[in-house]
């Protein structure tokens, strides 16, 4: 069996397609809103040194990634072990050396990777304008504004993705998530501004 088909079989056995898709959106949304919040926080404070802003946002992105990775791994391992035990009781057999055993070992890692990397990469995409500005590239807008626009765009795209999954209007779904981001931004301005 090819490696690709083997991986597909394990993911299918673990029933992880839905979970991974959900984690990708939920944690990606977390990452985007956290970065948006931090950028607005820096914006309403006197915008300081770009290095400080990048380091603070990068630290938050790493923390989000590690948090997503570890929490998903620990909980998925427990869930998969429980499911495997239940199946072993039904089959009256040790399934440790079967595809089900492999799925119980590998699927938590796959789910944890998606859960951890999704907020990290989305955060990095939002931070890209700040990194480019620090590297000396002249942006058409201020780096913080460009990063905020990137965050809003990514939140909108996550909504579009959700709309496509649900089979509803992608525009409506995108606008809904965008509205959440705008309300978040407004609240931050209201509280800190």
């Amino acid at each position: 069996m090819s490696l690709f088909r083997q991986a597909r079989l394990l993911i299918g056995l673990g029933g992880s397609n839905d979970i991974v898709r959900r984690y990708f959106v939920v944690n990606g949304f977390d990452g985007a809103l956290t970065m948006l919040g931090m950028i607005i926080g820096f914006e309403v404070s006197a915008p300081g040194d770009l290095t400080v802003i990048i380091n603070a946002c990068l630290a938050a992105a790493i923390a989000l990634g590690i948090s997503g990775l570890s929490s998903a791994y620990v909980s998925e391992v427990a869930e998969r072990k429980r499911a495997l035990q239940k199946l072993e009781e039904a089959m009256i057999a040790d399934l440790g050396q079967t595809a089900h055993g492999d799925a119980a070992r590998w699927v938590p890692l796959w789910v944890a990777l998606v859960n951890g990397l999704s907020p990290f990469f989305i955060s990095m995409l939002i931070l890209l304008p700040l990194l480019l500005a620090k590297a000396g590239l002249v942006l058409p807008l201020a780096p913080l504004h460009t990063a905020a626009i990137a965050a809003l765009l990514l939140v909108f795209l996550l909504g579009v993705h959700l709309g496509r999954i649900a089979g509803i209007s992608w525009l409506r779904s995108g606008m809904q998530t965008l509205l959440v981001a705008i309300v978040t931004a407004a609240l931050i301005y209201l509280v800190t501004g």
Binding site: G12, A90, M91, T98, A99
Partner: protein, 92 residues
């Protein structure tokens, strides 16, 4: 040479992998394998299957290993069809 041409097996397997993936993995044991799977019974976690396999020469150990690798359990061999190929060659 005596070759096993056809077998009907009684197998218990979890719901996953699906009947299609399960049959496909067994057919991948060798060239020219033909697999016919019938679900006889189903409960909350498992399915009882009748698995009919045809090939020029069935490798039973490989079939059993493929079933076990997918979490299945072979309960019984219900039918076997064997042919003496060398005898047929000399007749022709």
């Amino acid at each position: 040479m005596v070759a096993v041409k056809r077998m009907v097996l009684d197998v218990l397997k979890p719901h996953l992998p699906s009947a299609i993936d399960f049959s496909r993995a067994i057919a991948e044991v060798g060239d020219g394998y033909r697999v016919c799977l019938t679900v006889l019974e189903m409960d909350e976690n498992t399915q009882t299957l009748s698995l009919e396999i045809e090939a020029n020469s069935i490798d039973f150990a490989a079939i059993e290993s493929a079933i076990t690798a997918m979490g299945g359990s072979l309960h019984s061999i219900d039918q076997v069809e064997v042919r003496n190929i060398s005898g047929m060659d000399s007749m022709s």
